[in-house]
Amino acid sequence: MSVILITMLFAAILAFVLGIALGFFQKKFHVERDPKIDEVRAALPGANCGGCGFPGCDGYAEAVATGRAPTTKCSAGGASTAEAVSKIMGVDAAAEDLVTVLLCQGTKDLAVSKGDYVGIKTCRAAKLSTGGVKACSWGCQGLGDCVAVCKFDALEMGDDGLPHVNYENCTGCGMCVEECPQKLFTLVPRGKKGSIVLCSNRNVIKANVIKTCKTGCIKCEICVKQCPEKCIAMVNGIPVTDYDKCTSCGVCVQKCPTHAYKLLETDVMGEKKKVPVLVEA
C-alpha cells in the first residue's frame, strides 16, 4: 500500500513541477510569430507543388502573411483556396480558375520531321542541339517535358506525338507554361468561350509553313477577313482573337483552310475534342 502512496505523491509533485515549469518557460521564451502564417498555411492544400513560385506551401504561407505575395498564387488549390486565403488576409480576390491550352496541332503525321533525332529525350535538349526535331521551328517537340513537370497528372503524351490535356485534372498551375521550351502553352480561364488558333508558327512566308506542317497557320488571313465581328487581327505573325467581341460564331473555324482555328469551348475543352484534321490538297 505504501508503494502506491509514495508513487502517487511522487507523481503529483513531479507532474506539478513539470507543468509549472513548462508553462513558465513557454511564457518566458515565447517568440512572436505571426499566427497568420499558420492560418494561411492551414488553408493551403499542402501539395508542395511549387506552382506558386515559392519553396513549398510553407514558403508561400509566410510570403502571403508578410505581404510579399498575393493571395491568389496557389493554383493547386484553385479559387476556393484563394478565397480562403484572401479571407484570412482580409483582402478580396476573385481568383480565376485557369487551365492550360496547347497551341500546336502538329502531330507526327501532320508536321514534317526534320530528321532522326538521337540524344537526350527532352524537348529542351532537342531544341538546343538541333533547333527542334520538326521542320517547323515553333512546333511541339513531343518529348514531354511538360508531361514530366505536371504534378497533377493533367498531361499525357499521346500516340500522335502531342501532349494531351486532361481538363479535369489541370489546376492551371502554369508549370507547363514555364517548362515548355517552345512556349506552346497558354493559360485561359476554365470554360472560356471563343476561337483560338492552335498554331505558333511565326514564319510569315506561306510556302515555308506549308512545307513544314499541314495544319499550320499559313498567314492567308482568311480568318481576319471573314470574321463577321472583325475581331481577329494578325499579331506578330499569328491571328489573335479579341475575346470581348468574339461570339463563337465559328466562321473562322470553318474557313481556316488548314484547320488551325478552333473553338475553345468545343474543340479544345469540350466533350468531343476534335483531333486535328488532315488537310487535303
Binding site: V3, I6, A11, A15, L18
Partner: protein, 191 residues
C-alpha cells in the same frame, strides 16, 4: 580502455540503426540530403547526452532510494520530452542561429526511440555515470554515422534507374540491408 570499448561497440559493432533498428523513423525520414542528416545527427547527439546526464542521476538518486524504479519509463520519457521542449524554447530565444539549423529537428527527437533506449540501457547495463555518457555519445554518433552513410547512398540513387516497384522507401531498406551486411565486418571486432 573500457570506455573506448564501450564507445566503439556502440558506434560500430552494435550500430543503433543498422544492427539494432532503433531510430528508424528519422533514419528513413531525414536522410534526403547529407546536410540534413548531419543536422539531425548532431541534434540527437546533443539531446542524448543531455538526457543521459539527466536521467542517470534521477534514477540512481531519486527512483532507487524511493523504491520507484518501476516508474522508470514514465519518468524518463517525461524528462526527455520536457528537456527537448526546454532546449527548443531556449534555442529559439537565445541562439536563433543554432535554432534555425537544428530547431526543426528537435520536435522529431522527442519520439526518437534511440534516446530513450540509451537511457534505459545505461541502467540495464549498470553503467557508471561516465560510462553512461560515453555510451550515449557512442550510440548517437553511431546514429549520425548511419544517417550520413545512408544519405550518401541516397544521393547516388537520386539519378539511378531503380526499378519502379522499389522506388521510394523500399529501396532505402534494401540499401540499409546492404549497409548492414558491410557493417557485419565490424562484428566480432571487439569481444
Amino acid at each position: 580502455m573500457e570506455l573506448a570499448k564501450i564507445f566503439l561497440v556502440a558506434l560500430l559493432v552494435n550500430n543503433v540503426v543498422l544492427m539494432r533498428f532503433l531510430a528508424l523513423c528519422s533514419y528513413v525520414g531525414m536522410t534526403n540530403d547529407v546536410g540534413q542528416s548531419v543536422g539531425m545527427g548532431f541534434a540527437v547527439t546533443f539531446v542524448t547526452v543531455l538526457a543521459t546526464a539527466a536521467t542517470w542521476p534521477i534514477y540512481n538518486f531519486v527512483l532507487v532510494p524511493l523504491g520507484l524504479t518501476f516508474l522508470k519509463i514514465l519518468v524518463f520519457i517525461l524528462v526527455i520530452a520536457s528537456l527537448v521542449q526546454l532546449v527548443e524554447f531556449y534555442l529559439k530565444k537565445n541562439i536563433p542561429g543554432l535554432y534555425a539549423a537544428m530547431g526543426i529537428y528537435l520536435p522529431l527527437i522527442t519520439t526518437n526511440c534511440a534516446i530513450l533506449a540509451v537511457t534505459f540501457e545505461n541502467i540495464d547495463y549498470g553503467y557508471s555515470f561516465i560510462e553512461s555518457i560515453v555510451y550515449a555519445v557512442g550510440v548517437s554518433l553511431g546514429y549520425l554515422l548511419a544517417m550520413v552513410l545512408l544519405a550518401g547512398v541516397r544521393d547516388r540513387m537520386k539519378t539511378s534507374p531503380v526499378p519502379k516497384f522499389l522506388q521510394g522507401t523500399p529501396i532505402l531498406f534494401v540499401a540499409s540491408s546492404l549497409l548492414g551486411v558491410a557493417f557485419m565486418g565490424f562484428s566480432g571486432l571487439i569481444k
